[in-house]
């Protein structure tokens, strides 16, 4: 039976020859992930159920990234609970302040995810690892707690939507623009329960950073996962990071798709999603009248070194508009260090921005950039829901690092070509 990339990975992990959309299966897991918000709930469930062991100490990963460095006593208590759990089971991969980064930037960077693997995480953006041809999806804390003990979980095999990418990227256009454009096209439930399977000649135009951003936001279209095939770009990224053996999965030529979406890169310009849904995507050039108070450049969606470079190229020799606050958050310690080495931190400081230690902080209105009533932020994060970054009457506009940087300089939503 013909299968998609996702279906092949699930079949392999379920020990089955083949699977079909809608089938309920039990699949072995290569990695189980949690953060400082979701892990405490999972640990409580794990302990309440009376489990005494975890399935593999190298395959349970805890990353303290959301409310860290801890913003208050309660969040400190949550991290402490995770720390004690990690110690109790001698976890190989516990990332605390000093080694932590934003989980979905950190795991690929550290070589913890590889093609053909099956991964769950108690964080909705766990779907990021589809960029390297893994099946990965977000779950809740109870699923995480059970999987930490069992090493497997149940899935309903998803049907798929094929996204056929062609053409060449326009100047300043990145993976963020592509995914916002795609969500604008199909809506926030356009891929509900399904996998988004990317293919086409245009993929060679997409860097690994672009692909990580795209797969990261598959959930914002309601998808179970987003996944890319392996090519030379993937192999180059994995070389030196992933030393264990891995298997790449290609879709069968006659695999079934519920629909096929054609995306011509030539038609996609810098894109911004207006409040309060990621599907409200419009060209950045239409944002001239939207005055802003803050920009945030970072997050699991856009906190990698390529994102910092895109922002630095725009900000170099320029300064934020009067009254605009600029918050830049390299997603991991190594991205942070690279930013220092490459001189980006100087560029950011000269432009009037602050540079923070890695944290999810402002993306979910936690800390390090919460908005007051009536304030507007252009942010490279992934959600612009009501109250997401602070007050219920604040507004978040989702954009790429280049657009966020340009908007900071202009004082309103701007296409990079308006400030260069």
């Amino acid at each position: 039976m013909a299968m998609t990339m996702t279906q092949k990975i699930l079949a392999k992990h379920a020990g089955l020859e083949s699977v079909h959309a809608g089938q309920l299966i039990q699949a072995k897991l290569d990695l189980v992930l949690g953060n400082d918000i979701t892990s405490p709930v999972a640990i409580n469930e794990f302990e309440a159920a009376g489990f005494n062991s975890i399935f593999d100490k190298s395959k349970v990963v805890l990353v303290m990234d959301h409310f860290t460095p801890n913003k208050d006593i309660k969040s400190a208590a949550q991290c402490k609970q995770c720390r004690l759990f990690a110690k109790r089971f001698n976890l190989d991969n516990f990332f605390d302040v000093g080694t932590m980064g934003i989980e979905h930037a950190l795991l690929p960077e550290q070589g913890l995810v590889a093609p053909g693997e099956a991964i769950i995480g108690a964080d909705s953006h766990t779907c990021t690892y589809g960029a390297v041809n893994a099946f990965s999806t977000g779950v809740g804390s109870t699923d995480m707690g059970a999987a930490m003990a069992a090493g497997y979980t149940w899935f309903k095999v998803p049907a798929a939507i094929k996204v056929n990418v062609t053409g060449k990227k326009r100047p300043y256009v990145s993976g963020k623009d592509l995914i916002l454009y795609l969500i604008g096209k199909i809506g926030v439930d356009g891929a509900l329960y399904k996998s988004l399977e990317f293919s086409g000649d245009g993929l060679k135009e997409l860097t690994m950073s672009d692909r990580l951003t795209i797969a990261n936001m598959a959930i914002e279209a309601g998808a179970k996962n987003g996944i890319f095939p392996v090519d030379d770009i993937t192999r180059e990224y994995l070389s030196g990071r992933v030393n264990r053996e891995w298997t790449a999965y290609e879709p069968d030529p006659d695999s079934e798709y519920e629909s096929v979406i054609n995306l011509d890169l030539n038609e996609i310009d810098c894109t911004v999603s207006w409040p309060h849904l990621p599907e409200n995507a419009k060209p950045a050039i239409e944002g001239h009248d939207v005055k802003i108070d803050q920009i945030v450049i970072g997050s699991c969606t856009n906190g990698r070194i390529e994102d910092m470079k895109a922002a630095a190229e725009i900000l170099k020799g320029r300064h934020l508009a009067s009254g605009v606050r600029g918050i830049i958050i390299p997603a991991t310690q190594s991205v942070y260090r690279e930013c220092i080495k490459l001189g980006y931190v100087d560029v950011f400081l000269d432009a009037g921005c602050v540079v923070s230690t890695p944290t999810c902080g402002p993306c979910l209105g936690g800390h390090m950039g919460v908005l007051a009533e009536g304030e507007r932020c252009v942010s490279t994060t992934n959600r612009n829901f009501i109250g997401r970054m602070g007050h219920v009457k604040s507004e978040v506009y989702l954009a790429s690092p280049a657009v966020a940087a340009a908007s900071g300089i202009a004082g309103h939503i701007a296409h990079p070509k308006e400030v260069i």
């Binding site: 405490p40 159920a49 208050d72 977000g138 809740g140 926030v188 179970k224 959600r383």
Partner: protein, 159 residues
């Protein structure tokens, strides 16, 4: 039981805003449930009431605090045109009853008196004198919800 009606794409950030996620206390979570789109939610819900909503209910973050907050508010069932997948899974896992029924979700108005037969999937609107039919869950899911969720069910079956 009274229906509390909302629109499409009710996300987990409005069900329970992230600013309260440093707490795992069910009562505290319940006291802030839905406050960003409905300030009076906590005050107006009586035990057993239901939420009725449109498409893609529970979209966004994977936080299990969202179905926990709804359940701890006293809501006995959420009826929607469709659910976001992580919320759907989380609701079952923590023992919050949910039903997908586009017809009921469209027709039921705010404050309608509604009762739900979870076994048959039959939803009765007493105010409008109408019956809607949802696909009931398979037995093992029904049992899981009745037992109070995945972990409670696992424990019960281990005995």
């Amino acid at each position: 039981m009274k229906a509390h009606k909302y629109g499409d794409h009710v996300d987990t950030d409005v069900i329970i805003p992230a600013r309260y996620l440093a707490s795992q206390d069910e009562k505290e979570l319940a006291s802030h449930c839905m406050e960003d789109i409905d300030k009076n939610f906590h005050a107006k819900v009586s035990p057993g009431d239901i939420i009725v909503a449109g498409l893609n209910f529970g979209c966004g973050s994977s936080r299990e605090h969202a179905p926990v907050a709804i359940k701890a508010s006293g809501i006995s069932c959420v009826i929607a045109k469709s659910f976001a997948r992580i919320f759907y899974r989380n609701a079952i896992n923590i023992g919050l009853a949910i039903l997908e029924c586009p017809e009921a979700a469209e027709d039921i108005a705010d404050n309608d008196e509604v009762s739900v037969n979870f076994d048959t999937g039959e939803i009765t609107n007493k105010t409008k004198n109408k019956i809607y039919k949802a696909e009931p869950f398979p037995e093992f899911i029904k049992n899981m919800i009745a037992d109070g969720g995945l972990m409670a069910s696992l424990k019960k079956n281990q005995k």
